[in-house]
Every structure is written in C-alpha cells, then in structure tokens.
Symmetry: C2
C-alpha cells in the first residue's frame, strides 16, 4: 500500500529467521531503493556467514591470526631503532615478502619462498652483470643495452609461464624474476651502489621469508600433503554413501525416515569428487615441497594420489549415470525388481564396503589385509548378478506373466530396461571400484605402509537398511 | 657393456625422432650420471616444446611481447630525465604495477587493476587516519595503536580471503589492502610526509595501471568473455564427435580407416569437458569486468554460460559411462545388434546433430530457428528406439533362436544386456542434450540474439559413416 509520499516495503520473514525483501512491481526510484535495501540486508547477513565459515573450520581463523603475527613481528624492524638502522628503508621488502609469501598451506608458503629467493638471486646477479657490461659500453649505448635486455628477458620469462611444468611449479618465480630484473636494472641506471642495495634487499627478503616459514610450520601448521591425503579419504566415504543411497533409493523407499535435505546431501556427495581435479593437482604440487610431517615422510608418493583421484572420478561419473537412471524411475513395485534387487543391493553394498575398507585403512596409514577378500566377495556377487540376469531373464518373465506385475505390460517392459541398465551400471561400477583398489594398493606399496590387522568386516547387509545413518 | 672405467650409455631413438636414455640396471654413480644426462636431454627438448606451444597459439607469443612493451614503456620514467624528476624513486611502483597487473586476458587485467587501485586508496586513507589519531595519543601509545590496528586489520583481511565471494572477485584486492596498510602505517611511524608519499605512490600506480590496460586492450586483445564463448562452443563440437565415435565404435568397425591416435583423440574429446569447471568459472568472473567487445555487449549474460557448461558436463559423464560400456564389448556380430543398431546410430547422430546445430548458431552469435525441429526429430527417434526395444524384445528373441546368433547363447545374452545398457544410455544422453539446448536457448534469449535463417540440416546419416573426418 502506498499513501502520499510514503513507500511501503514488503519484507518477508523466511523459515530460518532471516529477512527477505519482495521486489516492488514498478520500475524507477522504488526499484533503486529496493536494490539499496537489499544490499544493506546482504551486508548485515555477511558477518554471520563469515563467522559460520570460520567456526566450521577454525584453522581459517588460526591462519588469519598467523599472518597477523608474522606481519606484526616483521614490522618490529621499523619500531625498534637498532633493527631499523641495520637495514634502513629496505625493511619495506621484509614486510612485502611476508604479505605475498604467506599462504594457507605450509607447502605453498615454502614453494613460493624458494621461488622468490631463487628468482630474486638469479635476476639480481644477471641484472648486475648486464649493468656492468652496459656501463663499459659508453653513455649512449648503456640505456639501449639495458632496455633491449629488459625487453628480451621480460618476454621470454612471460612466455615461459605458459609452459605447463613452469606454470605448475615456477609461475611465481618467473614473475619475481621479471620484477627483480626490471627494478634492479632500472635503478642501476640511476643508483651506483647497486651491489650493496641488492645484497641488503636479499637480506631483508630472507628475514621476511624465514619468519613466514617459521610461523607457517610451527603454529598449527596446515600441510598440503595431509590435506590431500584426508580429502581423498573423505571423498571415498562420500562415494560409498552416494552409491548406497542411489541404489537404495531405487530398491528400498529410503526417503521416509531421513530429512530430504540431509538425504540429498549424502546422495549428491559424489559430485564433489567430479570437480576435484585442479584442487588435487595443486595440493600434490605443494606437498612435494614439504618436509616430513606426521606420518608422511619426505618424498611420500604424492603423485600416486592423483591416480587414485582419477580412478575415483571415473567411478563417480558412473554413479552420475546411475543416478540419472534411478531418477527416471516410476515407483511401481514389481516382481522383477525383487528378483534382481537383492543381488544388486548386495553388490552395491559390497562396492561401498570395499571403498570404506580402503578409506579406513588409509586413514590409519596402514595397508588393508582383507581388501583382497572383500574384492573377491564383490566379484563373486558381480558374477552372481550376471547369473541372475541370465537365468531369470526378466524380460521374458514379464512378457509371459503380465498379470503378476502391476500396470500394463508396456510400463513393465520400460521398467525392466531401466532395471537392466541399472544392473549393468552397478557391474561397471564394481569394475571401476577395483581400479581404485589397485591404485590404493600401489600407493601403499610406494609409501611402504604396514598391513593392518584384519578385523572381520561388518555384516554388510546392515548397510542396506540405512546407508545415511552411517559414517 | 662396461670396460675398465668407460661407461656405456644406452640411448634409444624413438619413433618421433627424439632420443630416450635407458636406465642402467645398477645403482650408484652410473645412476646419478644417468640422471644428469636425462636432465640434459630434457633441457635440450625444452625449447622445441616451448616453440611448439607458441606456434599452436601465437597469442601466447603476442602476450609475452605485450608485457615486454608495457614494461619497457614504463621504464622510460627512469631513462628520461624530466619524467624521473617528476616522480623520483616512486617510479619503482609503476614498474611493479605493470609486472603484477598484466595478465593474459583483458578481463583479468582490468579486474586486478580495479582491485589494486581501490584497495590501495582505501588502505592508504585508513592508514593515514589511524596514523593521525595515534600521533595525537602521545609517543608511548603511538606504536601500540599502530601495531594493534595492523594486527586486527591484517587478520580480518586475511580471513576475508576465505569467503567465497571475496575469494572469487576481490582476493587480490584483499592482499593489496594488507600490503598497502602495513607499508604506509609502518613508514608513517618514521616518515612525516605521509600524504605526499601516498599521493605520489597512487599517481605512479595509476600510470602503470593505465599503461597495462591500454596495452592489454589495444594490441591484439584476448577477451575472457570471447574465450569463454568459443571454448564452450569448441567443447560442444568435441562432445558431438565423442558421441559419434563412441556409438560408431560399437556398431561399425570405425578404427580401420583412421589412425588410432587421431581416432582416440576424437573419441576422448569429451574428457576435457569433464574437467573444465574451474576454468569456466574464472573466465566468467573476468568477463564481467570487460567492456563491450566484438559481438558481446557490456553485461552479456556470462553467468548463463556456466549453466550451459554444467549441462554439458552432465552429458559428458553419461558419454563416459557409455564408453565404459562400449569398451567391455566382445566383437562378435549378432542379429540383435543390427536390430537395435540402426535406431541407436540414428539417435546418437540426432543428438550429435542437435549439439552441432547449437554450436554452429552460437558461433555466429545467432539463435537457431531449426533446433526445435531437430530436437523433435531426436525425440521421435528416441521414441522409436524405445518401441524397437519393446517390440523386438531382444532377450526373448535370443533365447528362442539361439542358432541364429554366433557363439553360445550365454555369450549372446551378455552381449544383449550390454546392448540394452547402451541403448538406455543413449536415451539418457538424448535427455541431457535437451537440457543443453534449453540452457543455450535461455542464453540466446538473455543475450537478445537474432534468429538465424534455417538451412536444411545435412542428411544426418552421412555423420555415421565417418564422424572423425568432420570438423
């Protein structure tokens, strides 16, 4: 309602206690006011969201405090007179070093530090040599030599950043190389105490970098390697949950006793496996720079994790196709479903069981002793499913006994095709699970893991009843 | 063979003319020598690989030259006396700005530039205000106020970089904020001409940034938006090729008349769709900052491309499952294969045809007028495939006429299951292709594209004969 000049705002309180503004139907000033109010509400919600983010993973808070500590420590160079007199205006470089080097994981910080120190030293030396040569060549030629060398080196270093191996490991170093070379070669044209300045600058960079690395690896360190290891294991559990949920949704009416939201979250967990390639690549890359930590020695086979990740993605794509197939389903119960259902459920539970077993032993940094038995069991069930498919010949049955099934025969036939597709996909998934097992076994071998004592696996039929209550 | 102190190196010439060193079987010095020689050979190959990279996409060479031009131009501030006297030692900041701001795409350069200028200004102002307040509080309290404010702001800004929306758009800005605030507040404790220094620094940063943006968008610009648009279209073509190749591999013996390598490349093209999420996200993010260019206006619906990309990935996961199914296949020809093969081939050709049609019209920035007809045709073929599956009842046929099929009945049955799975997956793919079409149609609507004149589509059966010779 609008009376005179008053504007009425329609604000709706939503279920979770937050407010939502309804868009006015007319255009113009009201629309702008609406936009501003919307922005205001968003800004009000912002701190709450940010706080939640930190509470869910307190290491993010800790990282922020670590950076602040390193920065405050390095700024002591300015506050404390004797320190300041030692390095003078160059203390700026120590501050800058801390800000640009300090990263979330120890591996990334170390990688950037080594890149920065090496690139600064190489570029600095090169710049001084070129400067020396140029200064011998006479006043007119000097800026030309310096300029041409700058042009050539800058374009070469920029281009090198496109080369995959350099992009993955030395991208930051290439940038710092260009930066240092241009700064020093240009200053060299004006300043004469080049070597002295260069050495002082490198000295302050080393101070900043050491401070970064010490803070990074002593106060609650976040290791890229450990992150990679546990993120892969967490994704294994998600795969197992999705597989359970997906098959159970088709054969058992699961959705009745868990909340929809929670159920969907479990069911769609496999999606995060699909999109994890880049994150895994960069974590493996940073892990290479880390010293031995926790249960991981130096030169732990990080590359092998990428293979495990790839097998897991291949399995996840199959689960995606399976889910597409399950969602098509119409909910009529039928005899064929029961015939194949039992074995399919057992096979998917076997697959999930195998994944959970390798996840559990990997979590403890051991090598599974009973995964072979579980894989054999899985393969036996797969064989059994193939036998059931052959002997029961569900399409044949359906055609011969249309009265037994609910609904018209055509519907039953369509459902049967779906059922067969589902069964085939589960068979394909079991094959891909075996690939994951092979890669994990190879990882255990490369990392020299010891075998775990084999505990009798849980009765896997329990899994069928409520995959969502697990884990 | 080893004689006395001589070491024999076994070097093998491989097919493509490059050399490969065979690893000696013993450990020790030989192994190290082998490693050094290997590194040497790698370094020799390196320039060749780099050159090839640039020749395949000359824009990479051009980018390297653009950066060198910008850097050489900005260093004129040092070489030319009047310019140098204007800004003095602060010219360093202009150089640094060019090195860290200049990125491959115009959008990324603009995004970083805006981030840098805003963050520098805000942090600079804030630092000056805090400094002013602190200086009023007395000599003993001053460093405490400055130190505490630095600690608080640095941790807040570092934490903000974890928040998704800030990470996506203002990550660089947050870093520059910390950097500028610490540099200015720390220098402020010593230097007294703070405002003057700050202004001069911002002035040089603006010079560097303008130079970056001008070079970036005038010399052969690479637009993130355009990249996104054409990379999505290229991936559509790859999807269509993979689909064609995959189905044809099962039903037609394709591999005989194209080289294996080329064939695999076409067949596995869909894999690059699976892993493209992060690249698309960042391109869409940078495209938002770009001005109108080519056929794209400002505020082109870049976000919609992410939806198209997601639908394409969903289709690609299904192709992955299909390929898994095709690879299981044993090559015996059978009657059922012929029965279903024709319709399946037509359906997959229809799907590929639909994808190629939207790729073609999108490439021309038009809206397809005949995609509706093609989709209808695809759906009719899908309907037909379902009918064929129902009426022919292949399992039934196989069980009744085992003599007609080659090999024992069991083998035939297994092949039949595979055939049914394949047919179901092609049906699922056709459903997912329709999702892609819907997203592309919505994109065309949001971007106000004009309809293209409808050309009668090619006879799609041509596609079946050799999908690899196309495009």
């Amino acid at each position: 309602m609008k009376m005179g000049n008053e504007v009425e705002w329609r604000i709706k309180a939503t279920g979770d206690g937050s407010l939502e503004i309804l868009v006015p139907e007319r255009f113009g000033v009201e629309r702008i006011q609406h936009w501003i109010l919307g922005l205001g509400l968003k800004l009000l919600k912002f701190p709450k969201k940010a706080w939640k983010l930190g509470v869910n993973d307190p290491r993010k808070f800790i990282h922020a405090i670590k950076v602040a500590i390193a920065l405050t420590l390095v700024s002591l160079f300015y506050y404390v007179k004797p320190l300041y007199e030692g390095v003078g205006g160059n203390a700026m470089w120590a501050v800058m070093t801390v800000v640009v080097l300090f990263q979330y994981t120890a591996g990334e910080t170390i990688s950037r530090t080594i890149n920065r120190i090496c690139a600064t030293s190489i570029a600095g030396l090169l710049a001084i040599v070129v400067q020396w040569v140029a200064s011998r060549a006479g006043d007119h030629v000097e800026p030309i030599i310096v300029g041409v060398s700058l042009f050539m080196l800058a374009s070469a270093a920029t281009f090198s950043r496109f080369i995959p191996i350099i992009k993955a490991r030395f991208d930051y170093g290439a940038m710092i190389f260009i930066l240092t070379y241009s700064l020093i070669s240009i200053s060299g044209y004006r300043a004469d105490e080049l070597l002295d300045m260069g050495l002082q600058r490198i000295f302050t960079i080393v101070i900043g970098a050491s401070l970064c690395i010490i803070t990074s690896i002593t106060i609650c360190p976040v290791w890229a390697g450990q992150e990679l290891h546990f993120s892969i294991i967490a994704k294994m559990d998600k795969l197992a949950n999705s597989l359970d949920g997906c098959v159970a949704q088709y054969f058992i009416d699961q959705t009745s006793y868990v909340s929809d939201e929670e159920y969907d979250k479990k069911l769609l967990g496999y999606k995060c496996v699909l999109s994890s390639k880049e994150a895994e690549d960069s974590m493996a890359n940073f892990a290479r720079w880390e010293p031995a930590h926790g249960q991981f020695r130096f030169r732990h086979p990080w590359k092998q994790y990428l293979k495990v990740g790839a097998s897991m993605r291949s399995c996840a794509t199959c689960i995606d196709a399976l889910l597409g197939c399950v969602n098509l389903e119409n909910k009529d119960p039928s005899d064929m479903k029961e015939q194949i259902g039992d074995v399919s459920l057992r096979l998917s539970a076997n697959c999930a069981g195998v994944i959970r077993e390798i996840a559990k032993t990997s979590r403890n940094m051991t090598r599974s002793s009973c995964v072979d038995i579980l894989v054999e069991e899985m393969n036996n069930t797969a064989q059994e499913l193939q036998e059931v498919l052959k002997s029961n010949n569900p399409i044949n049955n359906a055609a011969n006994n249309p009265t037994k099934a609910h609904g018209p025969p055509q519907l039953v036939l369509m459902e049967t095709f779906q059922l067969l597709t589902l069964a085939s996909l589960i068979l394909e998934i079991s094959a891909r699970v075996e690939d994951i097992v092979k890669d994990v076994e190879q990882l255990a071998e490369l990392a020299h893991l010891l075998p775990a004592t084999c505990v009798k696996p849980l009765n896997q039929c329990q899994d069928l009843e409520d995959p969502c209550s697990q884990n």
